[in-house]
């Protein structure tokens, strides 16, 4: 079961002295209407990136219908009181801008990027979309029909089927269980439902505007004040759903796709949110386990055994709950063998302290990759949004590397024991039942579903 002996390289140049990592200064403000604004300068190209977040996503309105916030965001860009859909698209092109709107479980967002020389008209359009979206009836109908085709299509994608099933298994009655609506639910969407989501969630008090790029922060802040000052609106009331139950004992969920020539494995279990003080430790544990190319699982089932192309583990931080998962698309005849290795590597991390040199390698990896966020405007934007949306301390970026480097083998062992809960992992396999059922059943009581989510026997 162990991987073959690894030979070491000879004559490798050492690392020279590290250059300091300096995160750019952030300018923070709150407008009189409550809108939170964070700006950071990055002069790599004569452009800027921005994102206007609202702290309400699909989970906040899941009691009305799954995916309602996403559908709202989709229709937001299709018309305002002043501009029709076609006008919006041409105006964006006229200023060299890209814009998209969408919603995840916890947030809705309008994301945009454009030339710095046209910052004002782009911010103007974003303001218009946030305040004066008109939800034109024909646009709504078209986007709904479009959505119907999308939800049909995603049911033919193994990766989607796996993550949908895992979320249902982990979150049960909690809104996080819903990753996508059914066709019937999309068909039942009403324009008024979207408008209500928009009225409640798209308010300055619920908003966070992030801008990163080639601009002068003070001048940009004045610009922002000018553009967004007249907007008003309260923070919506938030309801917190009861915490999901934690399933006990390994169970296997097989999603049957007749004729599949490969099996998508996805196993996961409840873990933590980003605010949890164990987050950085779990991050390091994850990169040792399967979160990096050089991780134990990738070396084992890809580089040693050739079972799969893209094995990976990761942490998924939703606002209220987080979970850990590991995935691999494997050859049909090695489903059991792959799961055996997936659990072997997990249990090994739970049983033995990580040798110091391996720990140091992983610490270097995590802190090095973290700093790459500095090098591009959208990389920096994504780091800043993680800090702001998760209400992490202001010095999170500056102190992250030191935190990673301070972690000991004992702490890692404790972290793996706590969160790589191999005895309770919920296992999803998506593939052809006839080829994989007996292999998958070795790992726990097994239930079978079809691609529509219906239980079959």
């Amino acid at each position: 079961m162990a991987t073959r002996t690894v030979e070491v390289a000879t004559g490798v140049p050492g690392l020279s002295a590290e250059r300091a990592v300096t995160w750019p200064k952030r300018t923070k403000a709150r407008l009189s209407n409550g809108l939170e604004v964070i700006l950071a300068e990055a002069h790599s190209i004569p452009k800027f990136h921005g994102e206007l977040f609202f702290r309400s996503g699909n989970a906040a309105v899941a009691d009305r219908a799954p995916g309602l916030a996403e559908m709202t965001a989709t229709v937001v860009r299709t018309g305002t009181a002043k501009r029709a859909s076609r006008q919006i698209e041409e105006d964006l092109r006229r200023i060299g801008a890209d814009l998209s709107s969408g919603a995840g479980a916890d947030t809705s967002a309008i994301s945009f990027a454009g030339l710095s020389e046209f910052a004002e008209p782009l911010l103007g359009l974003v303001n218009e979309l946030a305040r004066e979206a008109a939800f034109p009836e024909p646009e709504f109908e078209r986007e709904r029909r479009q959505k119907l085709e999308e939800v049909k299509l995603e049911r033919t994608q193994p990766g989607f089927l796996a993550s949908e099933r895992l979320r249902k298994v982990l979150f049960g009655a909690h809104p996080y269980a819903q990753v996508s609506p059914s066709e019937a639910q999309v068909a039942a969407y009403k324009r008024e439902d979207l408008q209500k989501v928009y009225r409640d969630a798209y308010t300055p008090e619920n908003g966070l505007l992030l801008l990163v790029g080639d601009f002068d922060s003070q001048a940009m802040l004045q610009n922002v004040e000018k553009v967004f000052a007249a907007w008003t609106g309260k923070k919506p009331e938030t309801k917190t759903a009861p915490a999901p139950a934690h399933p006990r004992g390994r169970r296997v969920y097989l999603v049957h796709v007749p004729g599949a020539v490969q099996t998508q494995i996805l196993a996961g279990y409840h873990a933590i949110t980003r605010k949890n003080p164990d987050w950085v430790k779990l991050g390091l544990t994850n990169s040792l386990y399967g979160g990096a190319f050089n991780s134990r699982l990738v070396m084992n089932i890809r580089e040693d055994k050739g079972y799969t192309y893209s094995p990976r583990s990761g942490m998924h931080a939703l606002r209220q709950h987080g979970y850990f998962s590991v995935s691999a698309a494997v050859r049909n005849d090695v489903v059991a063998a792959s799961l055996t290795e997936i659990f072997y590597e997990m249990d090994k991390l739970r049983s033995l302290p990580v040798p110091e040199p391996e720990l140091a390698d992983a610490q270097n990896y995590l802190s090095g990759v973290f700093s790459m966020g500095l090098a591009t405007q959208d990389g920096l934007l994504s780091q800043l949004s993680t800090v702001a949306l998760n209400e992490l301390p202001d010095d999170y970026l500056e102190t992250y590397r030191a935190k990673v480097r301070a972690i000991t083998p004992e702490e890692l062992l404790a972290t793996a024991r706590k969160y790589l809960d191999s005895a309770n992992m919920q296992i999803v396999v998506v593939g052809d039942r006839a080829q994989i059922e007996s292999q998958a059943a070795l790992f726990g009581e097994l239930e079978v579903f079809d691609a529509q989510g219906k239980r079959i026997t």
Binding site: L15, A20, I45, E89, E90, A329, A375
Partner: protein, 437 residues
């Protein structure tokens, strides 16, 4: 209008290796790339998929850095790495904290000097590549559509028309002799360019390049098969089955003019007029207005990154209640409109601003969010290997910004002709869910 200029230093070592440095001290990160001028177009006949399989082998061990050490040494320096194979080039790249620059150059030089792989490595990566093909193509709805489906229909020269990911029988037939012969033929310093971008001084980068790569012996100039195509004089059509998806699909590809000509620049902007997102004419007409299609997108794939025959390709997934004929007729109406009326001066102006903005994004752009300056690296490498002119990065925009309405009109009439196109229909085996219910 603010124009962006990239500072570039370049040189050629005595062994023929070209070296390009672009300094930028914004972040303490350096991006290193080595591009070899060999892609899947010119892999050996009977060995389809070999250029890509070979790319995997370059991570399997070199003289002083055995298997797993390349990956381990980059990751443990705080960096990321990958490689990719395309039509005319294969690349290997790393982004690392700048204190690991010399280590990265040492590793790249070690595998340019001598590959050290065995049968077990080859079998392992053959298995990995098969799972890559399954996860990206054979087990996905519309997998490989149209990038793998179009070439055998559109082209006549094997170089352009074969299965680039590889038939499994060909992958199985590849042996270590093939690996070493391919390495010896194409992976010579005089067929490559080294790029160092970011936190490095030009003189330091060049000195380190000489130190680590300077003593790698030059090889014979690699032989290059001619990838040119006979003149196409008739519309070509093909059919492929779709195993998982339920929507009928089609792809329409038109042969592109020669790169770096005025026609090529005009076609690039015409491509944006047709395919440029939600404002693009095809999306607007087929998806938004007529609502025949669920997707209508595509365009010229990697416009700066190819050096042989290619197409501008539209990919359409349409609603089953519309026939292929009706869908194609709606597509043809969009093409006819630009052939008759060109595009307006206002539209052309919009397209140029967007083109410039997109170009800057390309220069900065990462790959999958984790490889700073991937785009700049790619352009510098291709302009060096294809044109011996890395400075094109700073001047190539001019040609696009000078395109006129008349040139767009002429290009539409000259290149968007039925006898210059190929169409692939990808037809679902299953009826749509609605009809089946």
């Amino acid at each position: 209008m603010k124009r962006m200029q990239v500072g570039i230093e370049s040189t050629t070592l005595a062994n023929g290796l070209k070296v390009v440095i672009a300094s930028d001290t914004t972040a303490p990160v350096v991006t290193v790339g080595v591009y070899y001028k060999i892609g899947f177009r010119l892999e050996p006949q009977g060995r389809s998929g070999f250029a890509h399989l070979f790319e995997h082998m370059m991570f399997q061990g070199s003289a002083n850095a055995p298997k797993m050490q390349h990956i381990k040494l980059i990751n443990s320096s705080g960096g990321v790495l990958n490689g990719s194979t395309s039509y005319d080039v294969t690349n290997y790249y790393e982004a690392v904290p700048s204190n690991a620059l010399e280590r990265v150059l040492w590793l790249e030089a070690d595998r340019m000097r001598a590959l050290k792989v065995d049968d077990e490595n080859l079998k392992n990566q053959r298995d990995v590549v098969k799972e890559e093909v399954r996860v990206n193509v054979m087990n996905q709805p519309y997998g490989g559509f149209p990038w793998l489906d179009m070439p055998p229909v559109a082209f006549r020269n094997w170089a352009n028309a074969h299965n680039f990911y590889g038939d499994f029988a060909d992958l199985d037939a590849a042996d270590l002799k093939d690996v070493q012969a391919f390495f010896k033929t194409y992976y010579v310093p005089n067929n490559a360019v080294l790029l160092v971008l970011g936190d490095v001084k030009a003189e330091e980068g060049i000195a380190l390049a000489k130190k680590h790569f300077g003593d790698i012996p030059a090889g014979a100039p690699p032989p290059f098969a001619d990838p040119s195509e006979p003149e196409q004089t008739e519309e070509r059509c093909g059919n492929v089955e779709e195993k998982f998806g339920t929507l009928p699909a089609m792809a329409i590809g038109y042969v592109m003019p020669e790169r770096r000509t005025a026609d090529w620049c005009a076609m690039a902007l015409l491509d944006q007029a047709l395919h440029g997102g939600r404002a693009g004419r095809l999306h607007r007409e087929l998806v938004l207005e007529k609502q025949i299609a669920v997707e209508a997108d595509g365009g010229i794939d990697d416009i700066f990154g190819y050096n042989g025959p290619t197409q501008m390709t539209t990919r359409i997934l349409h609603k089953p209640e519309y026939s292929s004929e009706a869908t194609l007729a709606a597509f043809d109406a969009v093409i006819r409109e630009v052939q008759q009326n060109s595009i307006s001066a206002d539209e052309l102006e919009q397209l140029k601003v967007k083109w410039r903005s997109d170009y800057y994004a390309t220069l900065e752009g990462g790959r999958g969010g984790y490889m700073p300056k991937y785009g700049l690296m790619h352009l510098l490498a291709c302009f060096t290997l294809f044109d011996n002119e890395p400075q094109l990065v700073n001047t190539i925009l001019d040609g696009f910004l000078a395109v006129t309405r008349e040139e767009i009109h002429a290009a539409a009439k000259k290149y968007l002709r039925n006898e210059k196109r190929a169409i692939v229909f990808r037809t679902p085996v299953k009826a749509s869910a609605k009809e089946a219910a």
